[in-house]
Amino acid sequence: MTTIDLDATKFEAEKLFQCKRLIGFGIPAVIAVYFVYIFFAFDLPGLAGRANMENAVTLASDSWSHKVHVTRDNRSGDVTYAVEGERKGIYPEGQRPDWVRGDEVITIDLGGDIIVRYLPDNRTEIEIPGFQLIEAQAEGRTVTTNLPDDLPDWISASDRRVGITTAEGRITLTGARTEVFNYFPGWELFWFTLDSPYYGQSLAKILFGDQIDPARGNIKGAASDWWNNAMWRHKDVAWAIGETILMAFLGTMGAAIIALPLGFLAAKRFSPLMLVRAATRRLFDFVRGVDALIWTVVLARAFGPGPLTGALAILITDTGTFGKIFSEALENVDQKQIEGVASTGAKPLQRYRFGVMPQIVPVLLAQILYFLESNTRSATIIGAITGGGIGLMLTQAIQTQKDWEEVAYYIVLIIAMVMFMDWFSGWLRGKLIGRKT
C-alpha cells in the first residue's frame, strides 16, 4: 500500500466521520426546531389561558369521592337529602344522614366544627371556626347576609348568590335554594342504592345472617339489587363492555375470514393473473386507506348507531390490513413442503391444505390475536363515535360533566378490559401455536 493510497483512505474516512457527525448533530437539531415550531403552531403559550384548572380540581376530587346534598327549597321550605344531588340518590322519606339533626331547626354538621343551621323563614346560620357567624336571609330572588365587604377568597358573594368553599364541604345560597354539599371519600351507593334493603348491611350479614327481605333470599336479592343498581348501572356497563368486545371479535374474525381467500388472490405464487393480483392489492389499499373513521361515518348512515356498525367498520378496515399481511405471508411460503405434498400425488386443494396452510396458520393466528387486542381499543373509540359499547358510556358520562366518579369507574374498567384481552390473546396464542422462546 502506497502513501497516496493511505492518504486517500484517511481522507475518505475523515469525510465519513464528518458526515456522521453532521447527522449526529443534525437530527436532534431538526427535531428541536420542529418542537419549537409546534410550540407556536399548537399555541402552547395560550394554553394556560384556555386551561380550566377549576375543572381539573373538580375532576380530581370528584373521581374518588362523593358528596351528599342537603337542599332546602326556599319556596316550599322542603329539605331533601340526596347523594350527588341525583334523583336516584334521594334518601327515602323519613331517612337522612346521621350528621343532620333537628326538626324545626335543621343542624348540619360538616365536620371540623363547621356547622350550618337551616332556620325557619328561609334564614341560614353558618358557623366557621376563626370566622364570624354568617347569617343569611333568602327573599324572593335575593340573598341578604351580614358578610363584610372585605371577604376572604373562599367566599364569593353577590346579592343573588353566595358561595362558601371550605375543606369540609361547600355551601351555596341563592334566593330559590340553600344547598350544602358534604364530601366523603369513596364511591357511594356502588353496591346498593338507598331504596334497597341491603344498603348499609355488611357482607357477612348478607351471606350468613337472617333473611333481610322477606320476599327474597339474601344472596339472590342482593345480587339482583346490585345488578340493577340505578346509580351505577352495573347491568348496562356489563352489556356495554360485552358490546365492545363483541365489536372487536366480530370485526377481527370476520375480516380474517374474508381476507384469507383474497390473500391467495393477491399473492404472486398462487395467483398467476397480474390483473387479478393488482386489483386485489388496490382493493386492500383502498379499504385500509379510507380508514375506520370514514367507514364508521358511512356505515352509521346505513345501519344506524350500535355495535353492528362498529363491528363492520373494523371488519372492512382490517380486511385490507389482513389481506396485505396474509398475502405477504403466502409469498414467503416454503416451496419444498408443497412439492413434498405434491410428490405423494396430492391434488391442488390437498396441496393447499397440507402444504400451505400448516406454514401460514401460525403467522395468521398470531396476527389475528394481536389485532383482537388492538381492536378492543379501536372498538372503544369507534363506539364513542358511532354510539355503542363502553366508549359511548364514557363520552356520555364526560359530557354531563358531573359524574366524574363514573368516568373514573369506566376508565378503570376499560383499562382492565384491554389488559384482559391482551392477556387472553397471549394465552390463546400460547395454547394454539406454542409460546415463542
Partner: protein
C-alpha cells in the same frame, strides 16, 4: 427366532398405527369442536350485535351505498369548488399530521427510555424492571380517547389533548416493541464500554442504540402511520384537525357534502401517501435483518 421377532414387530406397528389413528381422530374431533364453537360464537355474536343496533343489518345492507353516492354526486356537481375546498382544509390536515408527528416523536423518546429501563441486562436499576414494564403495559392499555376526552375537559378543545393522549399510548406501545428488539442486542459492546468506565447513558448511546436503531426507526415509522389515523379519529371527538372539520361538515348534512368530500379526499390521500412512504423506508431499514 426371526419369525417371532418379525411378528412382534408386526404387532408393534399395528399398535403404533392404531394409536396414531386414535390421535388423528381425537385431533379431528377437537378441531371440529373448536370450529363449531367458533361458528356458533360468530353467528350468535352477529345476532346480538344486530339486535342491539339501531338499524338492522339486512335493512341497511342495500342503503350502504346511499350516503357515499349522495356525497359523490354532490361533490361532482360542485367539482369546480373542490380545489378551493381542499385548499381551505389543508391547514386542518397539517394540524392532524402535526399531532401525529409530535406524539410519535415524544412517544418514541418515552418508549425508548421505558424499554431500556425495562430490559434485563440493560436496565439502569435492575430491581425496577417490573415497575417500568407495568408502567408501559398500562400506558399501552389506555385507549387514546380516554385521555383525550378527560384532557379536552380540562384544557379545552384543540390539538394538545390529542397530542398528549396519543403520545402516552405510543410510548407504551413502542416500549413493548422496542424491548423485544433490545432483548436480542449483543451485550458485548455494552460490556466493552462498561470496562472503559462508561456511564449508563454512554453505554446505551454508544453500545445499544447503534445496534437497534434500524428496527427502532422502522417501528416508529409504523407507529406514525397508525397515529395519523388516530389523530384524525380524535379530531372527531373535538381534538382539532381534520376529524373536527369532518364532524362539522357532516353536521351540516346535504348541501355541504362537497366539504365532506374534500375532507374525505384529503384524509384518504394522506393515509395512502404516508402508508406507501413508510412501508418503502421500513423495507429499506430492515433489509438484510433477521436472516
Amino acid at each position: 427366532m426371526a419369525d417371532i421377532s418379525l411378528s412382534g414387530a408386526h404387532h408393534h406397528v399395528d399398535g403404533i398405527q392404531a394409536s396414531y389413528m386414535a390421535q388423528v381422530q381425537r385431533r379431528r374431533l377437537y378441531g371440529g369442536l373448536a370450529l363449531l364453537i367458533f361458528v356458533v360464537l360468530m353467528a350468535s355474536g352477529f345476532n346480538v350485535a344486530d339486535d342491539r343496533n339501531a338499524g338492522g343489518f339486512w335493512d341497511g345492507l342495500h342503503q350502504i351505498g346511499d350516503y357515499p353516492a349522495d356525497v359523490l354526486s354532490e361533490a361532482w356537481e360542485k367539482r369546480a369548488d373542490l380545489p378551493a375546498l381542499i385548499a381551505k382544509y389543508f391547514p386542518a390536515l397539517v394540524e392532524t399530521i402535526n399531532i401525529a408527528a409530535v406524539s410519535t416523536l415524544i412517544g418514541a423518546i418515552g418508549g425508548l427510555f421505558l424499554s431500556l429501563l425495562g430490559t434485563r441486562g440493560l436496565a439502569k436499576w435492575p430491581r425496577l424492571i417490573p415497575l417500568f414494564r407495568r408502567i408501559s403495559d398500562i400506558m399501552r392499555a389506555v385507549p387514546e380517547i380516554v385521555i383525550a376526552l378527560v384532557l379536552i375537559f380540562v384544557l379545552g378543545g384543540g390539538p394538545v389533548p390529542a397530542m398528549i393522549a396519543i403520545a402516552i399510548h405510543t410510548a407504551g406501545a413502542l416500549a413493548k416493541m422496542f424491548s423485544e428488539v433490545s432483548e436480542n442486542t449483543d451485550l458485548k459492546a455494552v460490556e466493552g464500554l462498561a470496562s472503559t468506565g462508561a456511564t449508563w447513558s454512554q453505554r446505551m448511546l454508544l453500545g445499544v442504540l447503534p445496534q437497534v436503531a434500524p428496527n427502532y426507526v422502522s417501528y416508529t415509522l409504523l407507529r406514525f402511520e397508525i397515529n395519523i389515523r388516530a389523530s384524525a379519529i380524535l379530531g372527531f371527538v373535538g381534538a382539532g384537525g381534520l376529524g373536527y372539520e369532518l364532524r362539522n361538515a357532516m353536521a351540516w348534512g346535504p348541501g355541504r357534502f362537497d366539504e365532506a368530500a374534500a375532507i374525505f379526499i384529503l384524509l384518504f390521500g394522506t393515509i395512502v401517501f404516508f402508508d406507501q412512504v413508510s412501508s418503502r423506508y421500513r423495507n429499506r431499514l430492515t433489509e438484510g435483518q433477521g436472516q
